[in-house]
Symmetry: C2
Subunit: 334 residues, 2 copies
């Protein structure tokens, strides 16, 4: 597999975005986020999704000529309208504002409605951690899973991110409510690989490790069975209430997944406790977490986000491995 330098990936993404009507500034930031997702090994929300994103911008699903704005404030909570704009930039603006509020008041919370797919949830958690804050954010989605107790698709998989600042090596949990995200299922199906553990049901109603069978049946397994199903419902409820936006039900009534609802929270633990105490505390807890004997066949117990950081270092040093077909598609666009 070819490996492309980060700067080249960024530059090609930027070139394509400018050519479909992005301003220079918006093209640069959006390309940066897509390139960083790819650099960090989150190919499902980087290169693999880029062509589809560009088509959405061309067909009017994503509006390029709008800016998210604050429409209501109550204390440390703000409600923002994303105006069906670029999901990644709306997300960055919303978390940026939550961080500002947190720096002043300890906690900041922004509910963002009428926005589009933010690609990687974790990107905005890392943004908060870079600013010394705990970052929490989640989104609702169109229907992707059945609730526990049914085979009928009715809830989103509502990705949730929690990020704790840790020098440059933030602890980052970035998880969908399904055991495997649709993006992950698509990547493994493309590679012809099986899941390591059962990730959903096939058309016959049996648990399976075949990603294609789960995509066909649309019966992904929620994490923790009934718990992930309940958590998906609660995240949709909270996101809809805090943003004043559309719920999974309303989003699913449209042909495309647009105008989703998201929540961004930042908690300024640096100002609360002092940055040095934060660093010492996190280091002590993480060191202890990893000081265990790994099971046979596992090299070490890793904290959430640690594998991603190793991939990032490798990809920065050796170039980002790209699927040749997908990369050619970008080079030929538009």
């Amino acid at each position: 597999m070819e490996r492309i330098p980060f700067e080249t990936v960024h530059a090609e993404f930027r070139r394509v975005l400018e050519s479909v009507g992005f301003t220079e500034a918006k093209a640069d930031r959006t390309a940066q986020l897509f390139a960083e997702n790819t650099r960090d090994g989150v190919y499902s929300h980087g290169l693999n999704r880029f062509a589809g994103f560009v088509r959405g911008c061309q067909n009017g699903k994503v509006r390029l000529d709008v800016e998210a704005e604050c429409v209501h404030r109550m204390g440390v909570i703000e409600q923002w309208d994303g105006k069906t704009g670029i999901g990644l930039l709306n997300a960055e603006a919303a978390m940026g504002r939550a961080i500002e509020i947190a720096h002043e008041h300890g906690v900041g919370c922004v509910g963002l409605r009428n926005t589009n797919h933010w690609m990687r949830a974790g990107a905005y958690g890392l943004q908060a951690a870079d600013a010394g804050c705990i970052g929490i954010c989640w989104t609702n989605t169109t229907v992707l899973m059945p609730p526990w107790g049914s085979a009928e698709k009715r809830i989103g998989n509502n990705p949730l991110t929690l990020c704790v600042p840790y020098l440059g090596n933030h602890i980052l949990l970035d998880m969908a409510m399904s055991q495997y995200s649709n993006g992950k299922l698509e990547v493994l199906k493309r590679r012809g690989e099986s899941l390591p553990l059962a990730g959903g049901y096939d058309e016959a109603g049996d648990l399976t490790t075949d990603p294609g069978a789960i995509l066909d049946s649309k019966r992904a397994l929620p994490i923790g069975y009934w718990k992930g199903s309940g958590l998906a419902l609660i995240l949709d409820l909270m996101g809809t209430l805090i943003s004043g936006g559309d719920s999974t039900q309303q989003i699913s009534a449209r042909p495309d997944e647009t105008n989703v609802s998201q929540v961004y929270m930042a908690i300024d633990v640096g100002s609360l406790s002092g940055q040095q105490i934060v660093e010492e505390t996190v280091n002590r807890i993480v060191t202890d977490f990893q000081d265990v004997s790994p099971l046979d066949g596992i090299s070490a117990v890793r904290y959430p986000g640690e594998g991603m950081l190793a991939t990032r270092r490798d990809n920065l040093a050796n170039g980002i491995p790209v699927d040749p077909d997908l990369w050619s598609e970008v080079l030929e666009m538009p």
Copy 2:
């Protein structure tokens, strides 16, 4: 199984607590919370835990002569010291303060350190929802699970509650990071029942539905495999940082589980959006969630907390079913 009226359960708990040195007011509120947990079917953190709680009060593990107090404030975040006091009352005070701050500023956050077991996480989520707020709270614990990739017990199961107000029938997710809580494993082992789904590993390292085998191996399965393991770590990190208290590692260095760290957040969605909009939105989303065909053998898809409400109604109408041995133990105390 004998069924005892709620008032009798409450009165007996109160009598016992007063006899071991609780003030009248503290005995009444603590007995109320224990009785409500039992009324709602959470026997593992109601009647089944009461005698152990009383012993902890008698042997000095729980201090009866202290009050939690605020020791630091930064904006809408307060850090409280629970002074190794009564966990249930510290929890109620902390969530009460988070609600007060939320009513004024949209969001309130209280980190509570040096506190004791709060029994049922959900109780304080319901407290927030009764006040028109979304309630979020979690606690760290002593070590109870291995991190993903190891068989060595090293993380807590760190129960997390998310509660959304819904008329009297709040949506309540109350979940440990293990697929089954230790309390649940103990209840099923006592009844000689198996788990419906694999809940951990036996001593040989195989997945099992035998609650006793999991209690013996101390290898409970985290929800969503690596995701629940990561979430447990992050909740410990966040709880320790926000409260300024002890981490799971520090708690586990003591012979008993004392001086745990907890976080309470309230988000005043009623003031943000208007109570009527909250009610209509929640009703619309929940109605849609349940409007699916249940799988064979399942009567209906329920939202988190709905089964608990049915148990509550039944127990209020017909008395609370009690384990005769445990109930006799209470009647004979002290």
